[in-house]
Symmetry: C2
Subunit: 211 residues, 2 copies
């Protein structure tokens, strides 16, 4: 027992390895898609033998499913700021900020999600029909209340939500295109702030929610 705090207990290792595999899988799935990703490559990225992956996750699909589920949780969590606000300018503004931060620091997850939906959600269709549908209904109700209270224009809430999702996720999903059009450079801190400001400016003004 050479080290005072050894991270080698059975449960710790299990957690550690699962996290390692999931991180590697997210990256590889994002870069190659489900069909293009190979268990061998995920194993290499994780630094583990391929057979070990199948010990923790029985099939490629099970591993993929876990990756998508984790992303889904992050997405839902980001929406808390929406409800905490008492008006559209604050609520939608904070939601845009939160989703832009996710696009910046978790782009692989966003890509996996996009890929899954583009392929008709073969793995998480049930989530779309239940959790996401319920979440959307709740947010629609909030927006409709804001409209009734005269705090923003009468906009179809669904299409507003789609625009919020599309615009913020675009900075992750199409980040490579954006970087290429930025002379091959990733966006700087200042450019990310410009992006957030521009998005908020257009949308908040566009729905008549600026003070």
């Amino acid at each position: 027992m050479p080290y005072a705090a050894r991270p080698n207990s059975k449960k710790e290792r299990r957690q550690e390895n699962e996290k390692l595999i999931l991180a590697a899988a997210e990256k590889v799935f994002a870069e190659a898609g489900f069909g293009g990703a190979t268990m061998q490559l995920i194993a290499d990225v994780a630094g583990l033998p391929k057979a070990n992956l199948h010990y923790y996750f029985p099939t490629k699909e099970a591993l993929y499913r876990q990756v998508v589920q984790n992303i889904f949780q992050i997405w839902l969590q980001a929406a808390d700021v929406f409800d905490a606000a008492d008006g559209p300018e604050e609520g939608i503004g904070a939601y845009i900020d939160a989703k832009m931060e996710i696009s910046r620091h978790h782009p692989a997850g966003s890509k996996v999600w996009a890929s899954e939906v583009m392929h008709r959600a073969p793995v998480i269709q049930d989530y779309l029909e239940t959790t996401l549908a319920e979440w959307t209904q709740g947010r629609i109700a909030v927006i409709e209340r804001w409209i009734e209270e005269g705090r923003m224009d009468a906009i179809d809430p669904r299409h507003l939500l789609y625009m919020l999702w599309a615009t913020t996720q675009h900075y992750a999903d199409f980040g490579h295109q954006i970087d290429t059009l930025n002379n091959g450079m990733p966006l700087s801190d200042a450019q990310w702030e410009e992006a957030k400001t521009s998005v908020k400016q257009i949308i908040l003004r566009g729905i008549g929610a600026t003070g």
Copy 2:
């Protein structure tokens, strides 16, 4: 010669088969991604033996490249309305309409493009760096002129373009999600009109371009 007009001349058949293969390939690549698509499945969808595909397109990558190039042409063509207009309300409005129509009637192409860019554009990176970069520069110049003439607010043209792309393409790339949230039904004609109206309303008002 039982039929008066036989479509069986050599050149006609070649064109016909190439079109058949490209259409099948676009559909399959959109549904399964490049890595998930198989030449066998494309052949089945096209109704041709697999070996015949390799007669017209030497490799899977060559076929994929042709699919992406065709989509790229449609994209560029849709931007003509942008220049034909003499103001932001007309120009950007028409551009939104055109791109929404493409999302509606050519969703598979949009998905293939999105997938290609998400995977860091391994096949069409040169197009991003040349044609798309030049096109973007030209449109930025137009928008900057509109701003100088006081016909719209001072918005960063790049982020405005990204928002236009993101929002319009979302209706193709995430069409399955939108349909699911629409009680599993595809958007009706009226709903598509609502979508176009909402997008134009928010963005045109958001950039201060409404008359």
